[in-house]
């Protein structure tokens, strides 16, 4: 029955062809791998089984996310590895190569698995069964889990589990990962208490068409009745994909997300800020005045604090993305956006990363993982930092408030300041689209890879999975604040307080930061910036909003005082041309170390982040130069 002895497409031959599966190692399995097609609910099951005892990292050397977790079974720990969703084991895509390497025990740094949990969608069995053939042929102890069993029964489908177990030669169980039903059989399997070495001959077929024929035969023998197509899913599609209401609903969703991120997160952010301020004052009260106190309060607390403040926004964003994704709406949103994205050479799947980039480019770049086409993914990563992220917002607000008097343009609806802010959003968006166009017609030109996207039925998102997702993301975010950002802020603090003169910290203009600012002054002079702005720009590399703190420190030190207001100080120090140039500079420049580091991690090298940094830098410089020139010329004429 094995048609595929030396199939060249596979590139390897199966050792365990047609043999009985190996039994468990003595004492039960230690390393268990979760395998399944995309949308099989594999990750939900993983979350169910491991709860909070999991960690997310990248597999060494590749950009595929590795999720590992521990499960206690009878007082013994079992390591669970969640593989990326795959349809087959032929090493054609990066996901499949990783899955194959892990399953064969060839992945560096990952233990060889001794059992497999194969997760298939019970409502979609014929299609998902095609993965069973190559996985079962590996000869490892395997349990087949038919997930979403509750949905199968409620929609009137059924399957003979015992017949399927006979056909596949492996234990089979119906489960519902979302509701946590049927998991006791999974634990029984993990404990090694289940008989796994049933005898059945499973062919290993590379060719999708043959695998379908095989799956078709099995389907007959196990009297599988497919569930009725979900009616309400169709009704919702009729509404969400309606030619008129569809785009309107999409706009409403986007506006809600924005509104929430800007206004709902506000009280929380102010709360955190107040808390950090309180900690700072307490420390100042308790500790004697010294360089260490300054390092602790201004450097560590102030620096990491200014980033932790964004936690509520990041959490809200991931809550929304979680709800949209788990409910199935995200797939429809991508479908609606596909046409617009196609105009700049991208596809619908780039829509969500770009939308999230309005909050922060870091999660956006992580969200670009859902784009399978590598070139489209890199293009999306490269343009994401152009979207106006929340760190730019405080800078924009400050400069606009300092230089633009508030007047109403359209009655009470739109004032000059809001219009200027909107203009900056449009500027960033236009730069992103233009760059996408440029990239996709030059270095990232790709064969038009077709947009192929599975539309999952609509489902209620569960609190459990949303909660885990948010905890997961906060952990990543806080770890970043605790490592990279802490290092950078301490470094910047040191640069502003060194070199010591007679054991005393120097004035800011004599410090390393001041010296650096002065060194780059000739370069930024044509843009209308002086050394203070230069020092601000350097410190803004840690995070764009840091420039505000730096400028406040510099002006404070110069005796112009915070009481006079940062706005007044800026007005004295910058020409209107310089102010506009500064806005344009912030709109285009890649002044964000965390983003560069994420791009480096996600693209697996320094080539793309360096290119991005250089490109955005050149654009920012020329843009600011032009802005300063035009505004100054315009003002001197009128």
């Amino acid at each position: 029955m094995s048609d595929c002895h030396s199939c060249s497409a596979c590139g390897y031959s199966f050792a365990a062809m047609g043999q009985a599966r190996k039994p468990f190692p003595p004492g039960g399995p230690k390393v268990v791998v979760l395998v399944g097609p995309p949308n099989s609910g594999k990750s939900t099951l993983f979350n169910r089984l491991t709860g909070l005892r999991q960690k997310v990292a990248n597999f060494p050397g590749v950009t595929v996310e590795e999720r590992m977790g521990k499960v206690s079974v009878d007082g013994r720990e079992v390591l669970l590895i969640d593989l990326p969703g795959i349809y087959g084991l032929e090493p054609r895509s990066e996901d499949e190569r990783v899955a194959r390497d892990v399953l064969f025990g060839q992945m560096r740094g990952v233990a060889r698995p001794d059992a497999i949990l194969l997760v298939l969608d019970a409502t979609n069995l014929p299609r998902h069964l095609i993965l069973a053939a190559p996985v079962l042929a590996l000869g490892l102890p395997t349990m087949v889990l038919l997930n979403m069993a509750d949905e199968l029964t409620s929609r009137g489908g059924k399957v003979d589990v015992e017949a399927l177990a006979d056909q596949l030669g492996a234990p089979v169980a119906l489960i519902s990962a979302v509701k946590g039903q049927g998991l006791e059989t999974v634990f029984e399997f993990l404990a090694g208490a289940m008989k796994v070495s049933l005898l059945a001959e499973v062919p290993h077929l590379c060719d999708a068409q043959r695998r379908y024929q095989w799956a078709g035969q099995i389907r007959e023998k196990v009297s599988y009745h497919p569930p009725a197509p979900p009616l309400w899913s169709r009704r919702l599609d009729a509404l969400f994909l309606h030619p008129i209401f569809g785009p309107l609903i999409l706009c409403a969703v986007i506006i809600t997300v924005f509104q929430a991120m800007f206004s709902w997160a506000q009280p929380l952010m102010q709360g955190i800020q107040a808390l950090i301020g309180l900690c700072g004052r307490l420390l100042e009260y308790w500790l004697p005045d010294s360089a260490w106190r300054s390092l602790l309060v201004d450097g560590v607390l102030g620096g990491t604090g200014s980033v932790i403040v964004f936690l509520p926004q990041v959490l809200l964003l991931f809550l929304f993305i979680g709800v949209l994704e788990d409910s199935g709406y995200l797939a429809r949103a991508s479908l609606i956006a596909d046409r617009t994205m196609a105009m700049v050479g991208l596809q619908g799947k780039s829509f969500i990363p770009l939308l999230s980039a309005y909050a922060c480019a870091v999660p956006a770049i992580l969200a670009a993982r859902t784009i399978e086409n590598k070139r489209d993914r890199i293009a999306t990563i490269l343009i994401a930092p152009f979207m106006t992220c929340s760190a730019r917002l405080p800078v924009y607000t400050l400069i606009i408030a300092a230089f633009l008097p508030e007047r109403s343009l359209i009655g009470p609806l739109l004032g000059t300041r809001a219009a200027a802010l909107l203009g900056l959003y449009v500027l960033g968006f236009t730069a992103a689209l233009g760059t996408a166009r440029l990239l996709k017609s030059s270095i990232l030109r790709s064969e038009q890879t077709p947009f192929v996207m599975e539309m999952p039925p609509y489902r209620w998102p569960t609190l459990h999975s949303l909660g885990l997702r948010m905890i997961d993301r906060s952990k990543i975010f806080l770890r970043r604040a605790g490592t990279v950002i802490l290092t950078v802020t301490v470094l910047l603090w040191a640069m502003s307080h060194l070199p010591l003169r007679n054991g005393v910290a120097p004035r800011i203009e004599d410090s390393l930061t001041g010296t650096l600012g002065r060194t780059i002054e000739p370069v930024i002079k044509p843009l209308g910036f002086n050394w203070k702005i230069g020092a601000g720009l350097i410190t803004a590399l840690a995070g764009r909003e840091v420039i505000i703190g730096t400028l406040a420190t510099i002006y404070g030190i110069e005796g112009e005082g915070r009481s006079g207001g940062l706005e007044a100080a800026l007005r004295r120090d910058l020409t209107p041309g310089g102010a506009v140039a500064l806005l344009v500079f912030f709109a285009f420049a890649m002044q964000c170390m965390p983003t560069l580091l994420v791009v480096w991690r996600e693209t697996g090298g320094w080539k793309w982040p360096l290119l991005q940094f250089a490109y955005m830098g050149v654009l920012a410089y020329t843009g600011a130069l032009a802005a300063n020139f035009i505004v100054t010329a315009f003002l001197s004429h009128s």
Partner: protein, 70 residues
């Protein structure tokens, strides 16, 4: 009824894994506002394709609706 996929091999493989195997029944469902891309029901699930891809899937027509859609 799907007869042949006139697309490059890697695209064909991906489509086949999603259920577009010769001999399967394809029904056109909703399309995005503007008519493109369109959702097709095949082998029990719904997949969205751009028209440019869908046009390269050669069908043997079984119902007037399918002929209209592709």
């Amino acid at each position: 009824m799907l007869e042949r996929l006139e697309v490059p091999d890697d695209v064909a493989r991906r489509l086949m894994e999603l259920g577009f195997v010769p001999g399967s029944r394809i029904t056109a469902m909703f399309s995005a506002p503007g008519g493109d891309p369109c959702i097709y029901r095949v082998n029990g699930c719904e997949i969205a394709l751009r028209l440019e891809t869908a046009r390269k899937l050669l069908l043997r027509t079984t119902s007037p609706k399918a002929r209209q859609a592709l």
